[in-house]
Symmetry: C2
Subunit: 226 residues, 2 copies
């Protein structure tokens, strides 16, 4: 009987996690679209939605603690609940990043429009794909998909290096665009952060299923200041 | 008997956490000193030490999982172990930030020296104090000290706003210093991140002892791009 309740509660936990993940994914999509399309209304939508994401994170953590206290799960179930605790934290940080991007979008909209670096859109597309795959690999227990996320992260990092060079050069050539360039650099960094957090989730999925610790194998020493 | 083992394992966990915390605190101190004093050797020491911090984080997580699986702690003990899991994660991210600051220091040392903004050193001092207090409040269960960390964070944020304005202005006036300014902006952001992570830890300590969720009460919408 207790077992049955545990599996029911774990199903509910999975649903709550997906619900939070869906909100965060949407917030990131809206924030990046607002950035590229100078869409203030969409940026404000992200800012308004952040409170709900924060509340969902708190509730999900409470759900995990309740399951641990009530059912005292062991082995795979225990590892799953701990993974949810960690992913929950990563998702909330993704939500924070989305909110920061939306705030940068609003600040950019208040300034004169400038050409967006050519790498921005592909970088956004990669990061969006990574957030989707990170959630999918967790829910579907798909380790191959998790490894794909790790590979995608290298692409995002490359885009960032090029964007950084591009924007720094532009600051030198067009000093009246320094304000916009600093905001674009900041937004880029937050996009890269979202990709990193998706990578964290994928690493946790690999660890959950294979016991292999893949995190810390990548270097934190990026070629460009982030 | 089982109880006795649990309390012995929790003591060991506390020690491991303090050990990791000490390493991270030292890495941050070294990285920021390397930045201000252009000390390449000290920056390289931080980069070399990062691997040990990563390994300690992995071991600490395993210790937590072992305690959960073996003793199935409840109530306060359960919350404590979960808090350690979260703090462990925050400390590792602090270590990452210290490594980033060290990397920026090395890049700066390779460029012509520039005047450091007047707010940098006080900001570093505040952030160093916060990391120390965050560990202390956790180990001593000192909620008043935890609340002090939350107050300090506001000061760090103010310093960052001023540094940001200062550096952006300098980029306009002295375009040949754009490279250095971008690196200093990046280092500033990482210092601010360390202060934020110390704040996370303090918030978790408050939650552990008072059940009050103080996180998410602060706004993520900073006045400056970060």
């Amino acid at each position: 009987m207790a077992m049955k309740h545990l599996s029911r509660d774990l199903d509910q936990l999975r649903k709550s996690l997906l619900d939070l993940g869906g909100r965060v994914e949407l917030a990131f999509r809206d924030a990046t679209a607002a950035l590229v399309e100078r869409d203030a209304e969409r940026a404000r939508k992200v800012v308004r939605g952040e409170r709900e994401i924060d509340l969902s994170e708190v509730r999900l953590e409470e759900e995990c603690l309740k399951i641990l206290a009530l059912h005292q799960p062991v082995a795979g179930d225990l590892r799953f609940v701990i993974t949810v605790l960690k992913v929950n934290n990563d998702l909330e940080r993704m939500g924070d990043a989305a909110e920061s991007i939306a705030a940068r979008a609003l600040q950019l909209i208040a300034l004169a429009p400038v050409t967006v670096p050519p790498d921005l859109m592909p970088m956004i597309q990669s990061a969006r794909g990574m957030t989707r795959k990170a959630l999918e690999c967790l829910v579907l227990s798909d380790v191959a998909l998790a490894r794909e996320v790790l590979r995608d992260d290298a692409m995002v990092d490359d885009s960032q290096v090029r964007m950084f060079t591009n924007l720094q050069q532009r600051m030198r050539e067009l000093p009246d665009q320094i304000g916009q360039c600093v905001l674009l650099l900041s937004a880029t960094r937050q996009i890269e952060r979202v990709a990193d957090l998706a990578t964290n989730i994928a690493e946790d999925v690999i660890f959950l299923h294979e016991g292999e610790i893949v995190r810390h194998k990548r270097s934190n020493l990026r070629a460009v200041p982030t």
